[in-house]
């Protein structure tokens, strides 16, 4: 069973004024079958955590560790991490002009699975997954994310989640910019992925809205670059009624430092 273990993670980004520490000692363990929600105010470092796990070159890990089933994730390149079983559904998926979505999906699936999927099965598999996400099959012929609406981009991320079937999926504000119908379709996609019970989900969100569709087992409050409180689903309800006011002090103290 897959386990993602993050220990005392410190991450900096370089700015004009030199390196700035964003993550200040994050500890988190996500196991297969579990769904964790990370909630926090804007600027708390939630997205930095997701990018650092995926290996974005802009973020420098200054100390701490990330392991997947005991393997050192920080020693892996971005693509090695993906092939090891990590997946990041991005908040702002990138457009890649001139590369068709179907070519992209097949290239990614070939890389992740270690062999090219048999064409006949593959076409069927993509078609079914697209249908489940209410996506027009014509998407396959369009350039990756180019000219997609916000909602279409998010569906495309979840389509990749379904096809690449990672061990641990990080969903970075997947709910942002989605209308009610799209949120339902996307959430159902995540729940189908979870249903196997063999994958872990780390859901990063500002709002509790998506948690009414995807039930978390654990909720963590993120403020000032680390987890400041952890609990069960009831913590989300508490945030829903009280907001992040209680954590504002931690956030301000962190940004002043």
């Amino acid at each position: 069973m897959a386990t993602l273990e993050i220990k005392d993670l410190h991450v900096s980004v370089s700015t004009d004024d030199g390196p700035k520490e964003i993550l200040k000692g994050v500890d988190l363990t996500v196991k297969a079958g579990e769904t964790h929600a990370i909630m926090g105010p804007n600027g708390s470092g939630k997205s930095t955590l997701s990018y650092a796990v995926a290996g974005h070159p802009k973020y420098e890990v200054t100390s701490g560790s990330i392991t997947l089933d005991g393997e050192d994730v920080l020693a892996m390149s971005v693509d090695e991490r993906a092939r090891a079983g990590l997946f990041l559904a991005m908040q702002y998926p990138v457009e890649v002009p001139g590369v068709s979505t179907s070519n992209f999906l097949r290239t990614a699936a070939t890389a992740i699975r270690g062999e090219a999927p048999k064409l006949r099965h593959w076409v069927k598999e993509v078609k079914e997954s697209m249908k489940e996400l209410d996506m027009d099959p014509a998407f396959a012929e369009r350039s990756v994310n180019e000219g997609f609406s916000g909602g279409e981009k998010k569906r495309h991320e979840i389509l990749q989640l379904a096809l690449l079937n990672p061990k641990i999926a990080i969903l970075d504000e997947t709910d942002s910019g989605l209308d009610v119908d799209a949120l339902r379709v996307v959430s159902e996609g995540v729940n189908r992925f979870k249903a196997s019970g063999e994958a872990g989900v780390l859901l990063i969100t500002h709002y509790t809205r998506i948690l009414r569709h995807i039930a978390p087992d654990f909720v963590h409050v993120f403020a000032g670059g680390r987890i400041v409180e952890s609990g069960g689903p009831e913590l989300a309800d508490q945030l829903e009624s009280e907001g992040y006011v209680k954590y504002a002090g931690i956030q301000e103290a962190a940004s002043a430092s």
């Binding site: 290996g55 974005h56 993906a82 457009e95 992740i112």
Partner: protein
């Protein structure tokens, strides 16, 4: 504070043209039309160098396309356009034999024609001339395939009669030592259509200047270009579309990738819409992708409009580094870095490659782009 003095460039309408090399002064390299070109590497093409060899011209054409080798006196030569710079005039003044391809009235060529031009060989210099004629309602595809070594300057004419449809792909896939300065002149008849693609992949200095002029209403011109410059190479493309008559359409799309120290590309895109050219529709675009440090792309669109009564005119130019966010996105889906880079570059050229309707040529170019990317270990 300093004030920049902007000297207005001469309008394209006032450019001097002549078939006679002596009518042009020897350029120093400071002139607007030569300022990007490394004159020292031109092997004297601009200072009166005499031919020391000959390029070989081999034509593979279907039976319905007429192929002739003619001498300088042939009255048809020069119908496509007049040289507008000294090297083009030098080539026009110096060639001894010209190749003329004719697609007759209402003839639809059954297969592409390939003209293979092999350079005169290392250390040799040659001049050449080629004319392609598409008569009324003729349709044909012609591939010009430049290979080999040496120094070569030439003029290529395209004469399209009314309603002719001509598709041209000019490939410059020279050896590393080659210098090629080429002027293409297209004259577009009423309702005729030219699709012209320049592909520059190899050579030391390659400078291609395609000019298209509309002779009558309803013409359509598509000028496309694709280039890939490596360390030390200078590839220059200067397009000019002359809208002198009403209701014509032109579209110019050039895209280039550069890698390696002192790889240099230049794109100058001139479009002139003269006062009489009402109802003109034109757009030009240049994009450059810098794959490594040390490369330089110059890109200058010039749009001159002398009438307000046009359907539309626009231009765009952008030169950028490889987009690391695209790379991250693809890698985050498990795709190894080298493969991800290739996907992005292939995607960059995709729209241009799709325009090339000859499958063998398209496949060859795709393979050539792959080979370029292998070379840098991208």
């Amino acid at each position: 504070m300093t004030t920049a003095v902007v000297v207005p460039e001469a309008s394209r309408a006032e450019w001097f043209t002549s078939f006679d090399v002596e009518a042009f002064e020897q350029p120093s390299g400071r002139e607007e039309i030569w300022r990007f070109t490394p004159m020292k590497r031109l092997a004297g093409l601009h200072t009166g160098a005499a031919a020391t060899g000959a390029a070989s011209v081999d034509v593979d054409a279907p039976a319905e396309v007429t192929v002739e080798t003619v001498d300088r006196a042939d009255a048809r030569l020069g119908a496509g356009g007049v040289p507008a710079d000294r090297v083009a005039a030098q080539a026009y003044s110096s060639f001894t034999a010209a190749t003329v391809l004719t697609v007759g009235k209402e003839v639809v060529a059954s297969a592409p024609t390939t003209v293979t031009i092999t350079g005169p060989g290392a250390g040799k210099l040659a001049y050449g001339h080629l004319q392609i004629r598409a008569e009324r309602f003729a349709e044909a595809v012609v591939v010009l395939d430049h290979r080999g070594s040496g120094v070569y300057a030439d003029n290529v004419e395209f004469v399209l009669d009314d309603s002719a449809k001509l598709t041209v792909v000019s490939i410059q896939d020279w050896a590393d030592d080659a210098v090629h300065v080429s002027a293409h002149h297209a004259k577009i008849g009423r309702d005729a259509r030219l699709r012209h693609t320049v592909v520059t992949l190899g050579g030391d200095v390659v400078r291609v200047s395609p000019t298209a002029a509309f002779a009558d209403k309803g013409g359509e011109v598509d000028l496309s270009g694709l280039y890939f410059a490596d360390a030390g190479q200078h590839f220059e493309h200067r397009t000019f579309v002359d809208h002198a008559v009403p209701n014509c359409t032109s579209n110019v799309t050039y895209k280039g990738a550069l890698q390696g120290q002192d790889a240099h590309t230049v794109w100058i895109g001139d479009v002139l819409i003269r006062a009489a050219a009402e109802g003109t529709q034109t757009y030009e675009l240049n994009r450059n992708l810098l794959l490594t440090d040390g490369a330089r792309a110059d890109s200058v669109p010039n749009l001159e409009i002398e009438t307000g009564e046009i359907a539309g005119a626009g231009h765009a130019s952008a030169t950028g580094r490889f987009d690391d966010e695209q790379l991250f996105y693809l890698q985050a889906r498990g795709i190894p870095e080298d493969q991800a880079r290739r996907l992005v570059v292939r995607g960059f050229f995709h729209e241009l490659l799709m325009k090339i309707q000859v499958p063998e040529v398209r496949e060859r170019l795709e393979a050539a782009i792959e080979a370029e990317l292998e070379a840098v270990g991208a």
